[in-house]
């Protein structure tokens, strides 16, 4: 493998790891809210979270590009904060990926929270656990399979994205050129051997991830 290939693999893993961690932090409260709320907004929020499932990545990428651009709201904010503009940077890629992979993390966690039901939390309350305490000591441990599924799916989905990376990240070696883009480059340049290495690696990786998911998490088999 060429050094650019290795750099792409490394960047991809870094991106997926950062995005997965952020998604668990952002997705958990959303999943909790969606699982427990009786608000009429539940449908709206649920639909917005699920949008990336059906939208072409280019559509999401396009709007994020506009929003993060010099005249977009995110762009103005980042400029005002002195961060500069996010498109074509690693942080920009991270933010776009968080949006794009959100449903893959929120939905398994939400399902797991819903499956717990009301009773264990009521029991915890009658045993002196505050709602915050009960969330950490009861809800999270009981939803562990959902967290595992969400993390694996979020990670794998981020590794596999292409369209949104091209829209937001462009193709800057070492900064935004991830494996999927690198494969595209190799194919464009008719470098099929290199493309095979990376593409084959992706197939193997994806298979192993799904194998892990289905083997260690039997409940997920029904959900998927």
């Amino acid at each position: 493998m060429e050094s650019t290939d290795l750099a792409a693999v490394w960047l991809t893993l870094k991106l997926a790891s950062v995005v997965t961690i952020l998604l668990l932090i952002v997705g958990t409260p959303i999943a909790w809210w969606l699982a427990r709320t009786r608000s009429r907004l539940k449908g709206v929020v649920g639909a917005v979270v699920a949008l990336p499932l059906v939208l072409p990545p280019t559509v999401l990428g396009f709007y994020l590009l506009v929003a993060m651009g010099p005249n977009g709201p995110i762009g103005q904010l980042t400029q005002a904060l002195g961060i500069g503009l996010l498109p074509f940077t690693f942080p920009g890629l991270v933010i776009a990926s968080v949006f794009y992979s959100l449903p893959f993390v929120v939905q398994p966690i939400q399902n797991a929270f819903e499956a717990i039901g009301e009773r264990p939390l009521e029991v915890a309350a009658t045993l002196r656990a505050s709602p915050w305490d009960a969330f950490w000591s009861v809800a999270v441990p009981l939803a562990r399979p959902g967290f595992l599924s969400g993390a694996i799916l979020g990670f794998a989905h981020t590794v596999g994205e292409f369209g949104i990376v091209l829209m937001i990240g462009g193709n800057i070696p070492g900064r935004t050129r991830v494996v999927s883009v690198q494969i595209y480059d190799h194919v464009e340049a008719l470098e099929y051997t290199q493309a095979h290495w990376l593409a084959g690696g992706m197939v193997l990786f994806s298979f192993l991830v799904l194998l892990a998911l289905y083997t260690f998490n039997p409940a997920r088999r029904k959900a998927l």
């Binding site: 009521e122 915890a124 309350a125 009658t126 045993l127 002196r128 505050s130 709602p131 305490d133 562990r144």
Partner: protein, 359 residues
């Protein structure tokens, strides 16, 4: 000092209205008895703070946990109470010990009244501490749930049909432990049930609920011996007698004595002096004007008629009797009542066909 429990709740739902105003003793077991839909579980949940009645007041002694007129509502986790639900609801991610420590860890050391080994011993689960909840039988799980609730140092224990999900064998296995709690704990227990036998066996105070309203509330026997209750409760009419073993007789019978008389039952193995509860159904009591002779029925107690009331069994009446202070109920046909000219004040003899011993 005996605390008093005050509970007033009003809940309005589309198909159901609950409106109760209760003053309950701060000791012993109070049973909330009623059919499904009577609101007994809602009352319990409101007491626990798991449901907030729009108009509600709940106080244990001087401790006011809800007073909506002053906007006061203490959330459940800040109330010193224990709840045992119908399903044990043990935390599956914790061992038996972990479950028991859950509430204990969240209780200040000063408030703790029992140690974990003591409670484990009391409920007979000391050998199960390292098991996972999934490895326990239904009865064992429920005992762990009770232990878990007690270790959080509650000032009141709320039990929502704790035996309803168990089969008869498990029920019989767990009832003695509940009786031990009754005997050894100083805290009041509110016990929701729709099983008359459990109530007769455990309760000291009885609240009858029907369609969200309190039909009767009072000491167990005072309520059980009332004959003016709605027909729904009259089917199973009967009284509970506290008796003590007086003697073991040679022909495999045991003699019990209670205020008002003595009865013979099949041989018991407890020592003389042991107190037992027994239930006498109205349908098992017949009446005679003269002391019965030449009858196979052994038990006869002299009593005076207190009052009569119709029942919902056609052609039958319910007779309330007074046996030297102990109330008894008899269900006889209206024809017999007329033939014997049964009226309040009449002294007669009861014949008791069956006595159900409750322990």
């Amino acid at each position: 000092m005996s605390l008093e429990i005050q509970a007033r709740f009003r809940v309005d739902r589309s198909a159901f209205t609950l409106d109760v105003d209760l003053i309950l003793p701060g000791r012993g077991v109070t049973a909330l008895f009623g059919h499904s839909g009577s609101g007994k579980t809602t009352v319990l949940r409101a007491m626990a703070g798991l449901e907030r009645a729009a108009a509600g007041y709940f106080a244990l002694g001087s401790e006011v946990w809800q007073d909506e007129s002053r906007g006061r509502f203490v959330p459940p986790h800040q109330r010193a109470l224990g709840v045992v639900f119908q399903e044990a609801s043990l935390f599956p991610h914790l061992s038996v010990r972990g479950n028991m420590e859950f509430g204990q860890k969240r209780t200040s050391t000063a408030a703790r009244r029992f140690s974990l080994p003591e409670i484990a011993e009391l409920l007979g689960i000391a050998h199960l501490l390292d098991r996972a909840p999934g490895q326990l039988s239904g009865g064992e799980r429920q005992r762990v749930a009770i232990a878990r609730a007690l270790l959080a140092a509650p000032q009141i224990l709320l039990m929502d049909e704790p035996l309803a999900a168990l089969d008869l064998k498990r029920k019989l296995e767990i009832l003695p432990y509940l009786e031990r709690l009754h005997g050894e704990l100083s805290i009041p227990i509110i016990y929701v049930s729709h099983a008359p036998d459990e109530v007769a066996r455990l309760a000291d105070h009885l609240v009858l609920l029907d369609q969200g309203k309190v039909v009767a509330s009072g000491p167990l026997n005072a309520v059980l011996s009332r004959i003016d209750l709605p027909a729904t409760f009259a089917d199973d009419a009967g009284v509970v007698i506290e008796a003590a073993i007086a003697a073991h007789e040679a022909d495999d019978l045991t003699r019990l004595e209670f205020t008002g008389g003595r009865i013979l039952v099949s041989q018991r193995h407890e020592p003389v002096g042991t107190r037992l509860r027994c239930r006498i159904h109205a349908r098992d009591v017949s009446l005679a004007l003269a002391p019965p002779v030449q009858t196979s029925i052994l038990n006869s107690v002299a009593a005076t008629v207190a009052e009569l009331a119709p029942t919902n069994t056609p052609g039958h009446v319910l007779v309330k009797l007074d046996a030297a202070g102990t109330p008894l109920l008899a269900r006889i046909t209206r024809r017999s009542a007329e033939k014997l000219a049964i009226r309040p004040g009449l002294a007669l003899h009861t014949q008791i066909k069956a006595v159900a011993l409750l322990a």
